[in-house]
């Protein structure tokens, strides 16, 4: 990496990026512990190793851009502005969770920040992103819709249909492919006949390129560029972020399908460590400042766990709530909150 002048990022921006990556990491390390302690249940998919992607992309968005993500979405949710306590409470299944406890780890939602999940049908949320983009275009806003998905999702028919629609209709959607090389235990090479994913996406006649997803500045720069293109009316953009998950697919996964050496190689490129080291090496930050970010993040998560755990379990009597809107509910009630 080079100096600030070359990167185009200000020191404060860099610190914010580092801080946010650390916040995600600390939140998720704690999730793993809490899973072991049975406080979190169901499927839990950690983003550890991939933090630069969400962090860089989210840094380039406007507050009211819509975001959709997968089941591996804790980091995205956090940076979209959902308090760590609400996220943690959701994973505890408590009423103070961001989905009222109904969704759990895979289904974080927040209407106030326009975070549209936490979607756990692989590929299923890509058409939703197209629709949100269509709504923006029809209503005439200058917001964009950002959709995160794994490289595995690109084999699904819904990817194909969604990209085609977005391109045909020139919608303001940013497709962010988090290529961590595996879909559960299936490697990219056995999942896609064309492993150059940007090339593949370009076949829909949209701008598409690939970026080092372990380098948060590269990610942020790509996202800025993409957002500018989209907001300027250039239609959808696809960006591939090459990254890696340091943990197993989920807490159920014995991770038998990856070579330890491969994991090690990628861990050398830990997006947080490399970025922190660079900041320190270049004397843009001191080791103490970095430590402080970790400490603050830990405090945030400590508080979050405490607040989450203070939350109540929903009484079983209201089990049938939220299936359809209550009588008398009008669509307007929901719109108010968006």
């Amino acid at each position: 990496m080079t100096g600030f002048d070359d990167t185009g990022f200000q020191p404060a921006e860099c610190e914010a990026l580092l801080r946010d990556m650390i916040r995600i990491r600390v939140l998720e390390e704690r999730c793993a512990e809490l899973y072991a302690a049975s406080m979190i249940r169901g499927f839990l998919h950690l983003y550890i190793g991939e933090e630069a992607v969400a962090t860089g992309v989210m840094s380039a968005l406007e507050a009211d851009d819509a975001v959709l993500a997968t089941y591996r979405e804790h980091g995205h949710a956090l940076l979209k502005g959902i308090p760590a306590a609400s996220i943690m409470a959701e994973m505890f299944g408590r009423t103070n969770g961001c989905s009222g406890g109904r969704g759990g780890s895979m289904h974080l939602f927040d209407s106030s920040t326009r975070f549209f999940g936490g979607n756990a049908i692989v590929g299923g949320h890509l058409p939703l992103a197209v629709g949100l983009g269509l709504a923006e275009r029809t209503i005439g806003t200058d917001r964009i819709t950002v959709c995160f998905f794994g490289e595995g999702a690109m084999a699904e028919g819904e990817f194909h249909e969604a990209l085609n629609l977005a391109a045909l209709w020139q919608l303001p959607v940013l497709f962010c492919c988090e290529n961590n090389r595996y879909a559960m235990g299936t490697s990219l090479e056995t999942s896609e006949s064309q492993t150059d994913l940007a090339l593949k996406a370009a076949s829909y006649s949209i701008p598409a390129w690939s970026v080092d997803g372990m380098n948060v500045l590269d990610v942020a720069r790509a996202a800025r560029r993409a957002r500018t293109m989209i907001a300027g009316g250039g239609g959808p953009v696809f960006v591939e972020f090459q990254t890696y998950r340091f943990r197993a697919h989920s807490m159920f996964d014995p991770d038998l399908y990856r070579e330890p050496a491969e994991i090690e190689t990628w861990k050398q490129r830990d997006p947080i460590e490399t970025f922190a080291d660079w900041l320190v090496d270049e004397a843009h930050a001191s080791a103490e400042e970095v430590s402080r970010l970790w400490a603050i993040a830990r405090e945030e998560v400590d508080d979050a766990v405490e607040a989450a755990d203070a939350g109540a379990l929903e009484p079983v009597e209201s089990l049938l709530d939220h299936v359809i809107a209550p009588p008398g509910w009008s669509v307007r009630d929901e719109e108010m909150s968006r």
Binding site: G100, S111, N119, P127, T138, H160, V323, S330
Partner: protein, 341 residues
């Protein structure tokens, strides 16, 4: 077939089910900027069954939007558009093709409100054609309404009169949750008043069954394409001295248990006529539900008349033999009343 689905006085203007549906969509596009129509061939072609004909010329391609062949994609896009503040009316050509979009409808549209703890509703209307009778064979002729009626989070309706074709849509559009509208392909030519006497023009409720023909000897429950057939059968039965209380279910989810049980509690006999397959079909639900509520007053088990368990065959005589016909309804009703089974 001479069927009148509502009492028609001399002066009442009649139209077709197709035109009523068309008028409903046109009015919705006119009244609310957020309404858009999308689906395969809804624009230039005018809709497979010509329901949306002329609308793209009037409202433009942005509001009446042709989609490529990609059922999952464009239904999902409609869900997203609903989340984003529009009120999409999405058309799926035939219920068979809706299987391609079922993931979106069941795993997303029907769950979004719940998964988000009530934060995100999906105010979407999905229209699709259903039913057999046109010799379209095994990949175009099915009746899978019962599947949709199984899914919490959805509302499912089946207009069987011109009046309902005209007015159910606006209620559906006002609904904060996804509503699936099943249009039986054989009904498009049905004649009747969009605004029958006594029914002021305007939205109709989506959740109540309606007695289309009152009677005392047995209850016949039908919906969609089976309603005109059941009406014709009821006429024939009346001629034979049997008076049938004919219920048009209208809403397939939720099911209007009150209307069903009020009728069967009085007639003590019920016949359900279902164009879907028998096993685990909607007719099973009607039978089970009615029996739960009326067991002690039933004079005979609820009788189900449904389509034969075969993918719909092409030849007319086999197709007709597979699906319930007027004579089948008459025969089943007579046996129920006269022989008790």
């Amino acid at each position: 077939m001479s069927v009148e689905t509502e009492p028609v006085a001399e002066a009442v203007v009649t139209t077709t089910y197709r035109d009523a549906m068309h008028d409903a969509i046109r009015a919705a596009l006119h009244d609310d900027d957020r309404v858009i129509v999308l689906g395969e061939d809804v624009a230039d072609y005018g809709g497979t069954y010509a329901v949306t004909k002329g609308l793209y010329e009037e409202f433009g391609r942005d509001r009446v939007r042709n989609t490529p062949l990609s059922e999952s994609g464009f239904v999902g896009a409609a869900i997203g558009a609903a989340l984003g503040g529009l009120r999409p009316i999405v058309e799926i050509m035939t219920v068979n093709f809706s299987l391609l979009a079922l993931d979106q409808i069941v795993n997303t549209a029907a769950t979004f409100r719940h998964m988000s703890g009530g934060q995100f509703g999906v105010p979407l209307v999905v229209r699709m054609t259903t039913g057999a009778g046109r010799q379209l064979a095994a990949q175009h002729s099915h009746s899978l309404e019962g599947w949709y009626a199984h899914v919490p989070g959805l509302k499912v309706v089946a207009p069987a009169t011109v009046h309902d074709a005209r007015w159910m849509l606006s209620t559906a559009l006002a609904d904060p949750d996804p509503v699936i509208i099943f249009e039986h392909n054989a009904l498009y030519g049905l004649q009747g008043p969009a605004d029958p006497p006594g029914a002021p023009p305007g939205p109709v409720d989506l959740e109540r069954a309606v007695v289309r023909r009152p009677g005392d000897d047995l209850t016949i429950v039908a919906w969609a394409g089976m309603v005109p057939k059941a009406l014709e059968a009821a006429d024939a039965l009346a001629a034979a001295g049997i008076s049938a209380d004919l219920i048009d279910l209208r809403s397939l989810r939720p099911i209007d248990t009150g209307t069903l049980t009020a009728s069967v509690g009085r007639t003590n006999r019920a016949l359900v006529v279902d164009e879907g397959w028998l096993t685990v079909g909607l007719s099973a639900e009607i039978a089970a539900l009615t029996t739960e509520h009326c067991f002690w007053s039933l004079d005979a088990p609820v009788r189900r008349l449904a389509t034969a368990e075969v993918p719909i065959p092409y030849p007319r005589h086999l197709e007709q033999h597979a699906i319930p016909q007027v004579e089948d309804i008459v025969t089943a009703a007579r046996r129920l009343v006269e022989d008790g089974h």
